[in-house]
């Protein structure tokens, strides 16, 4: 009869014989996907990012039913949602809280990868896709923040779009092209709405699917950083693997309970989060004639913003010194004349652009370069990390200290980005910037130093 042979009975059998891919996917990705049994706290955040994505997509769709992407109506339409739409305040607060929680869970998810070497072979592409998701998420947030059309929306967008101005040659035309006007206005709002609700979510969803498929192809890493697929039972199933469903579904639902308590705790009792999640000045309608005294980006962008502000004209010489040192270190570490020449050449060009008069680029350009580099540099991690073991558990104790110093620098940069600058704060953020980049660019050297502990054959697991 041309029907697919099915092992299911009744309605499910009828469906399965017609669309076998559904139950096939269920098997491959759920009941016969074997995940390491030693997942800990840090392994909740991948699942939780998907939960937040779902919250954002659904609440966003309902917001879009009432929101008006028109510079004369946008601000009022948000207040209309808050006051007149049934449950509108709930939907809006879920969406605004979800934006911040998205970054919280994604940052924790990335920290997990740093701790357990989840980006190492064979998961490099998985990591790169994850980095692309992070970039898409930043774009999504940036476009979305303009939509309430408050003072911070307007001036934040103004500042960020003006950054493109500093790109040599094409900068001014590029920023006009992004705005769709010579100033941030109705055209900008309309296109940002389209990007926020159509373009970026589509890209984001596609990337998430690729991310999960790529994960399920190679299998999950685990806190011990060993490949469970290397030790299989007679049935071909990894000895330390357990079916994702039901074990990790119930596990994730348990974690979801904690997450929802935190998420709805904020949504219902502190949606402004003291002005960090919803800024006071964004309750004032956008006014192109009144520049706020202090323009700070959203909290999750502040580490990168701090790096941008730290890059002053006086700081370029320090960057040059760091580049020279790194160039020399690389020169003597690589073998082969061609490679060495390339290293010397790149170092010379960078130094020229940094400090040689008439050739050097403006500090503003370097600030933008540094800010961009601070995010893009994450993509290099699989190749920077040269340690013989993946997980921090079996690396020298001081490697953990290095990681924590990096996290501390990231947090300090984050706090400083929220505050108006003072000479002291700028100096601290410059030190933080050096530490932030130092972690990555020196990793090829420090990650292989020290005494590594023996890695066990099987994962460490204590039955519950």
């Amino acid at each position: 009869m041309g029907l697919h042979e099915t092992k299911y009975k009744g309605l499910l059998g009828w469906v399965d014989s017609r669309v076998p891919f559904v139950m096939n996917a269920w098997r491959v990705h759920m009941v016969e996907y074997y995940a390491p049994k030693n997942f800990n706290f840090w392994y909740y955040f991948g699942f939780l990012s998907m939960v937040v994505l779902a919250i954002q997509l659904i609440s966003g769709a309902f917001l879009a039913m009432h929101y008006k992407p028109d510079s004369l109506m946008a601000f009022s339409s948000v207040e209309f949602i808050m006051r007149e739409v049934s449950g509108g305040w709930f939907i809006r607060y879920m969406h605004s809280t979800g934006a911040s929680f998205f970054f919280i869970v994604v940052y924790l998810h990335m920290f997990r990868a740093l701790m357990y070497g989840s980006y190492r072979t064979p998961r490099e592409i998985l990591w790169l896709v994850g980095c692309c998701i992070f970039l898409a998420l930043m774009a999504e947030s940036f476009f979305g923040y303009l939509l309430p059309w408050g003072q911070m929306s307007f001036w934040g967008a103004q500042v960020i779009i003006n950054l493109f101005d500093s790109i040599p040659v094409i900068g001014p035309d590029l920023s006009t092209w992004i705005r769709g006007d010579f100033v941030v206005g109705d055209a900008t709002l309309n296109r940002f709405f389209a990007m926020h609700t159509m373009m970026i979510p589509t890209i984001l969803l596609g990337l998430v699917v690729v991310h999960v498929l790529a994960l399920h192809d190679v299998g999950s890493n685990n806190p011990d950083g060993i490949e469970i697929k290397d030790k299989r039972g007679p049935d071909g199933i990894p000895l330390d693997g357990i079916p994702f469903h039901p074990y990790y579904t119930v596990h994730d639902i348990y974690g979801l309970g904690f997450f929802l308590l935190a998420f709805f705790g904020v949504t219902f009792f502190a949606p402004e989060m003291g002005g960090v999640f919803l800024e006071g000045n964004n309750f004032n309608p956008a006014d192109p004639l009144q520049t706020p005294l202090h323009i700070a980006p959203l909290w999750y962008f502040t580490p990168y913003y701090s790096i941008l502000r730290a890059t002053t004209a006086g700081f370029l010489i320090w960057i040059a010194l760091a580049v020279a040192g790194l160039g020399a270190l690389t020169y003597f570490s690589v073998r082969g004349m061609r490679l060495r020449l390339a290293v010397a050449g790149i170092t010379a060009v960078l130094l020229a652009l940094l400090v040689v008069p008439k050739v050097q680029l403006d500090a503003k350009v370097w600030g933008v370069v540094m800010m961009g580099a601070s995010v893009v540099i994450l993509m290099g991690l699989p190749w920077f990390d040269q340690s013989p073991v993946k997980s921090m558990r079996y690396r020298p104790a001081w490697h953990r200290a290095v990681l924590l110093v990096f996290i501390a620098a990231f947090l300090v940069l984050g706090v400083l980005g929220l505050l108006p600058p003072t000479p002291l704060r700028t100096a601290v953020s410059q030190v933080g910037t050096i530490m932030y980049f130092g972690f990555f660019v020196l990793m090829p050297w420090w990650s292989r130093m020290g005494e590594f502990k023996p890695v066990p054959d099987r994962v460490q697991f204590a039955a519950h």
């Binding site: 074990y247 309970g257 904690f258 006071g280 921090m392 558990r393 519950h464």
Partner: protein, 294 residues
């Protein structure tokens, strides 16, 4: 699991270092930060319907002529216990309906001419005035209690919280006359002949109830710069009642900034309760399944 506990210790050490660095930076205030004397709005009548209703009456009588509240519908006032008949008979002076928005008929172009700027819409003003330094409620409470007569301004009024404010003190009849004494210690830009350059000068300005100022300047050797303000009400009873009026008014503005806040708290408690039950069930489910895993 020994690794993990060591990790925890270094985690704490790392965060401790981060917090120290943050504290060091927070200690240094931003240069040129204005020091406005901000009082605290008394929150004891925050949810008191009578107080909110008094605030609504003051708002409609004194504010809603120049300022609009165009995100608010008249009949939303039902939430604070004012019914449609009361709204129609006591609050709406024009031909608006109870379902209309609380708009005003002042033309923005005229407003710009008369005041120099268009009076802002007050629907979300309390949230709009929230900053890192102060709460919006405290700011507006202090602003209202910071007016003094000053003949040198266009309206005859000035304000210690918002110097040269365009808005006159429209509630002055309720407050009664006051004498303002403003003491400022600042670097001396024009030291007298023979005076030490770079010294400080102490200016005491006493504005009488009609707004005429008596200013005395004196060079001082040391001490901190800053501003001190004191008011002497000529009708202390009225001034005290006025403070209550302003507290009611700010309470109303606070309520109007987010009329759904009360529902938010009420529903939130139930949601939290449900989630705790959800968590317990999920915990039990997890435990039952994971029993098999050795």
């Amino acid at each position: 699991m020994k690794n993990i506990s060591g990790f925890g210790i270094s985690l704490r050490a790392g965060f401790g270092a981060a917090l120290l660095a943050i504290a060091a930076c927070l200690g240094a205030p931003a240069a040129g930060a204005a020091e406005a004397p901000i009082d605290h709005w008394p929150t004891d009548h925050q949810y008191d319907k009578a107080s909110l209703q008094r605030g609504a009456r003051l708002f409609v009588n004194y504010c809603l002529n120049c300022h609009s509240a165009r995100q608010m519908r008249w009949n939303r006032l039902r939430d604070i216990g004012i019914d449609d008949a009361q709204i129609k008979s006591q609050l709406i002076f024009g031909d608006q309906k109870v379902g209309d928005l609380m708009t005003v008929s002042m033309n923005p172009v005229d407003a710009k001419l008369w005041f120099g700027k268009v009076p802002p819409d007050l629907s979300v003003i309390v949230r709009g005035r929230n900053t890192d330094e102060h709460r919006g409620t405290d700011y507006i409470y202090s602003l209202w209690r910071g007016f003094y007569r000053d003949r040198t301004t266009l309206t005859g009024w000035n304000n210690v919280v918002y110097p040269n404010i365009a808005m006159p003190n429209v509630l002055w009849q309720r407050q009664g006359p006051r004498v303002a004494t403003i003491t400022r210690v600042e670097p001396d830009d024009h030291p007298p002949a023979g005076g030490t350059p770079g010294g400080l000068v102490r200016t005491v300005s006493v504005f009488d109830a009609s707004g005429y100022a008596e200013v005395s300047r004196k060079s001082v050797d040391g001490g901190a710069t800053g501003e001190e303000v004191s008011f002497t009400p000529l009708d202390p009873a009225a001034a005290k009642a006025f403070d209550g009026d302003v507290a009611d008014l700010v309470g109303f503005l606070n309520w109007m900034s987010e009329p759904t806040a009360e529902a938010r708290y009420r529903i939130g408690v139930w949601v939290m309760g449900f989630l705790v039950v959800f968590l317990l069930v999920a915990r039990w489910l997890n435990k039952v399944y994971w029993r098999d895993i050795k």
